[in-house]
């Protein structure tokens, strides 16, 4: 019988206040195998840990049981304490006397009785613990960043600048993301392109960054330090090496299509470069609209291309990339306000979204920065902005605040007043959330010296009447109707996770919330990590953010990646599954239940094959153990014997 030491923590009055420590220690002393019991005010404190070390030596303890707070808090602490006394760190068992006992029960008698049970269970389990060793795996020194918006670019640059190669995967033909569509940015009103373009260029030029635009992630296999990411590059039908981006092709292309970049407010050709500063600056043929692909003739672009870059027969390419870490930076999509029947969005051309307004006000936009009504090109005399469209609206299934709208509305209103001093501007809002540095001052400038009329109230209806748009709102501060006849209405549409993000998350076994935003490992302490080791989050895929927050988040993700990639080896999970070749029948019913593909069939000689677990890939969930029909599979640290010992000893 192993020699067990029990250490009962008071946690000040947190445990001792409700649990009779003295009774617990007395009971513990009677449990089989227990040779030493002591209690501390704070076992996690330095003296407390020293006490454990001393007792291990003094009493030649072979197992340690700590009755304290949740193992989720201090298991690591106590393991290292145990280890420092020369005992294997996995010979420790914690009884959760605080979160699961003293904090949830008021009756001292009941709480004490339960605490005694919990310690008994821990002792029984401890007696059956075995020493475990962690092995190590090498780390592939490359990161894959998924998404080429400002978050992805920032993360890629930070990682590359630290000396690690990066593959930057972007779905659309060019880097830039939504930031590339913005005109000016709050709270400084500096031009978006002026900040972003240099970043895009540096990323493309950086020797350690491999930009794969017009590409998507197909498959992700492997595990932290050793991912295999399959990237599918869609055919541009243009040879990227030859294309100079001269533009001759799209000047001559006869087909006009709504421009995705201009959000339907402008046109592009069937062969196109999405925007002037696109990176890579390489044309792409949109096969769904190109006459040659649709009707088999035209090929004008081919004729006018002096570089001979047009490659109609180009095929898609699959590349398998080995990487040690993955950064998800898939960003956001703009909420489609069409579900607001009362706002007539999508039905009346002069009711547009915030992002569309960016294109309308941008010098590189379809109107060259002249603000005109999409319907008739007239200059608007009155413009109304409506905040919280698709956010803070449970009825429309979007309860969250989209974080950036208040500020972009203030900015857009300012830009409008700047460009058209005679145009009156109204902003319908519920609250102005200006939490960032310099934000409140910025918003106050908009409402103050820029003369933007802020009206506190949600709009009930927007409808066309006599050639204008009637915005039926309420000034809840006056308790009076606030009906504006506007020529242009801008709906501040919220951010939602970009299409396909959830699907990607499933492939990475990263969880996501009810709104589809990916879940960080800890909302405060690990905001850029996920519960899947080696996968990190940057930007709006995790939740709505403005540019400063996005860049900061991306930097944080990059720092985590750098820390990971600078390691030569990673310690693997010690509590992994193990197949007993003697008992394994080779039925392999364990293989399909393993989420990590860690189980393979190994030839055991004589036509017999048995299950084999790769300890580096196994994350220790134990699904295979429960699936095994002959009890050949065990999960180290959670063996049947250990768990049943707890079951057996739950009650006296």
């Amino acid at each position: 019988m192993a020699r067990i030491g029990v250490f009962v923590c008071w946690c000040g009055s947190n445990i001792a206040g409700t649990v009779d420590i003295e009774a617990v220690t007395r009971a513990a002393a009677t449990f089989p195998g227990v040779v030493h019991v002591e209690d501390n005010r704070y076992t996690c404190s330095e003296p407390g840990q020293a006490g454990i070390r001393r007792a291990i030596e003094a009493h030649q303890l072979e197992r340690v049981v700590v009755g304290a707070c949740s193992p989720r808090l201090h298991e690591a602490t106590f393991r290292s304490a145990v280890a420092s006394a020369g005992l294997n760190p996995y010979l420790l068992q914690i009884a959760n006397l605080r979160e699961h006992c003293s904090w949830v029960h008021r009756d001292r008698e009941e709480a004490t009785a339960k605490a005694i049970d919990l310690v008994r269970m821990a002792v029984a389990r401890a007696a059956r613990l075995t020493a475990l060793e962690t092995s190590t795996v090498p780390v592939t020194k490359r990161a894959v960043v998924i998404g080429g918006g400002v978050a992805g670019i920032q993360a890629a640059l930070d990682i590359a600048r630290a000396g690690f190669p990066v593959t930057l995967v972007e779905r659309s033909p060019s880097l830039g993301g939504h930031m590339g569509q913005l005109d000016k940015t709050f709270p400084t009103l500096d031009c978006s392109a002026c900040i972003l373009t240099p970043m895009m260029v540096e990323a493309a030029a950086h020797p350690l960054i491999d930009v794969r635009a017009y590409s998507e992630v197909d498959k992700v296999e492997g595990y932290v330090g050793n991912f295999r990411v399959t990237v599918r590059s869609k055919p541009r039908s243009v040879d990227r090496a030859k294309c100079t981006g001269c533009g001759a092709c799209y000047e001559k292309c006869p087909v006009q299509v709504d421009s995705e970049y201009d959000l339907g407010l402008g046109k592009r050709r069937a062969i196109y470069v999405p925007f002037a500063q696109a990176v890579p600056n390489c044309a792409t043929i949109d096969r769904d609209h190109c006459l040659y692909y649709q009707r088999g003739r035209c090929r004008i672009c081919e004729r006018v291309c002096e570089a001979g870059a047009i490659a109609f027969d180009q095929l898609e390419e699959l590349a398998e990339i080995e990487a040690g870490a993955i950064v998800v930076a898939t960003g956001y999509d703009e909420f489609d306000p069409a579900v607001y029947g009362e706002y007539g969005a999508g039905r009346w051309p002069d009711i547009i979204t915030g992002l569309q307004f960016e294109r309308l006000v941008s010098a590189s936009g379809p109107t060259g920065g002249e603000i005109r009504r999409p319907s008739d090109g007239r200059k608007p005399e009155a413009v109304a902005f409506v905040a919280c469209v698709g956010s803070r609206d449970e009825a429309k299934g979007k309860a969250y605040c989209s974080a950036a709208c208040c500020m972009y509305v203030a900015k857009q209103a300012m830009l409008l007043r700047e460009k058209m001093p005679d145009t009156s501007v109204y902003v319908y809002y519920m609250d102005v959330r200006a939490g960032g540095k310099g934000y409140e001052e910025f918003y106050r400038r908009a409402a103050g010296q820029y003369g933007v009329n802020y009206v506190r109230g949600r709009v009930a209806r927007i409808y066309p009447s006599r050639g204008r748009l009637v915005v039926a709102g309420e000034d809840t501060l006056l308790g009076r109707r606030a009906v504006v006849e506007a020529d242009l209405v801008v709906l501040a549409a919220a951010m939602i996770p970009s299409a396909g993000a959830a699907e990607l998350a499933r492939r990475l076994s990263v969880s996501y919330d009810e709104d589809g935003f990916l879940t960080e490992a800890h909302p405060k302490l690990r905001p850029a990590e996920t519960n899947t080791r080696g996968v990190f989050l940057a930007g709006c895929c995790q939740g709505p953010k403005d540019i400063p927050a996005t860049v900061a988040h991306a930097g944080a993700a990059a720092a985590k990646v750098i820390a990971l990639l600078s390691r030569q080896h990673l310690a693997t999970e010690a509590m992994t599954a193990q197949a007993d070749p003697g008992r394994c029948s080779g039925c392999m019913s364990c293989r399909p239940v393993c989420p990590y593909g860690a189980i393979t069939a190994r030839d055991a000689g004589g036509l017999r094959s048995v299950a084999d677990v790769n300890p580096a890939m196994c994350q220790g969930c134990g699904a295979c153990v429960a699936a095994c029909r002959n009890g050949a599979m065990t999960l180290l640290g959670y063996t049947d014997e250990q768990l049943l010992a707890e079951v057996e000893s739950t009650w006296r």
Binding site: E394, G457, A460, E474
Partner: protein, 193 residues
Amino acid sequence: MPAHILSPAQQQGYAAAVSSRAGTDVRACYACGKCAAGCPVAPEMDLLPHQVLRLVQLGAVDEVLAAQSIWLCASCAACSTRCPNMVDLARVMDVLREDARHRGLRPGQPRVAAFHASFLDVLRRGGRLHELTMLISYKLRSGDLLGDVPMGVRMMLRGKLRLLGGSPARARQAVREIFRRLEAPERRKADAQ
């Protein structure tokens, strides 16, 4: 009178009670005013729809039940249809009117109440609506004797107002029975609490 002197207990209680009776959570309202902005009769209201909800949230019972607004509500349900927090305000207004009536308060809009009452009278007796009887009963209750008389005459000329209202005996009796059972005094008391 002002809400801030009400005791918290009383506040909590009323909001919860109204919520359960209206089958909607009045506490979800964040006073965005979308209801007021779309309400056809808001301009005539003494308390705007969201202000009515606010008083209910605070449990300012007397103040809210004395309001004209609860009688002016046209039950068009534009508010309920558009509320971002899915508060069924039209139903809340029903509950408040009922409360005002059960507590025997003087209705904030006597004529509207008179109209409702006259309508119920006619039903109680006839089982089906007989407009002429109702109009007369309304005029007597409301004292609005002259209004609409010319229109009434024109309607009668076009056969839109029958002199005699006929409805089958079975229907009449069934409805009388319903009124009798629902207006039984012991039930009244039960509701008032």
